[in-house]
Symmetry: C2
Subunit: 183 residues, 2 copies
Amino acid sequence: MEDELQHVLWMAISVAPSHGNTQPTRILVAHTPESRAALISSLSEGNRNWAPAAPLLFAIAAAPSHDTTPQDFGGTTREVWAMHAGIAIGNLMAQATALGLIAHPMAGFDEPGVRAVFGAPDDVRILAVVAAGYPGDPASLPEDLARKETAPQDRLALEHLVAFDRWSDVNAVSARELRRRNR
Amino acid sequence: MEDELQHVLWMAISVAPSHGNTQPTRILVAHTPESRAALISSLSEGNRNWAPAAPLLFAIAAAPSHDTTPQDFGGTTREVWAMHAGIAIGNLMAQATALGLIAHPMAGFDEPGVRAVFGAPDDVRILAVVAAGYPGDPASLPEDLARKETAPQDRLALEHLVAFDRWSDVNAVSARELRRRNR
């Protein structure tokens, strides 16, 4: 993928907001063939079936020690680095889509393995591995992946996701349970 | 804010991807004046100075028990609900911007307090409180907030955020440390 396009993707991650502007998110790019091969080896088997076709592979990492820990009124604190990395991933996906690209984040990978690929220390957390590139033809995929790629997007009805003023049982039920009931 | 616009914001959160399509993210909307007042009381003092002017206030929550826990090759597992909620927040911000709105997530709040506003159980985590609305005139803000609002966006140089093939000391240094050095 062209360097200019990659640069726009990194900028989308860079401008993502963080509480206190701590910017704990890092981007680990597998640039050389050796790095790419090592990163692919760190993916789950399912992801190894399709991700190697993407021209751009990188990991989204976070340095929790860089981040703030917002405090509740009672003095307990909360970690926000994973949310911060997530916001950056959301920004990245929107920017990729606007460029006619796809950025597909994966959670199926070996975290110690990905750290080892880049020589990142143990206190750096790996949130996602992202495959990015131009959309391809689903017909080029194996049958099971092609079916997945062309299936309609399945999402819960909004009533399960949104609570107006009051949390209720409708919000408490999980997507897994709802899909089991509808099967 | 018009119900149709709000609906588009909830849809942006709803379509955000999650590993295994678990959709652990929930939206807790302070709709009545009582809920709004209670939610505002749960904000940090700094946020109470500006957020009440927003026509729409809501919390982004997550139900960790709904979510998957991806497994490393050695059998350890990772929690991904906070990243999932973050991706949804990133989607929300992009959608709000596309609509000419602003969606401003805050981490400065009291988590038990926000849960209490909505009667959400203890195992529901609150990731952010979001103030959304049309952009206002910075001149209407108190002087310190107006300065903050109109200041240029300050972000680290990309070399600190992006590692090509190899993690380095340039990636390890925190935004806080870099800004201290440049002061």
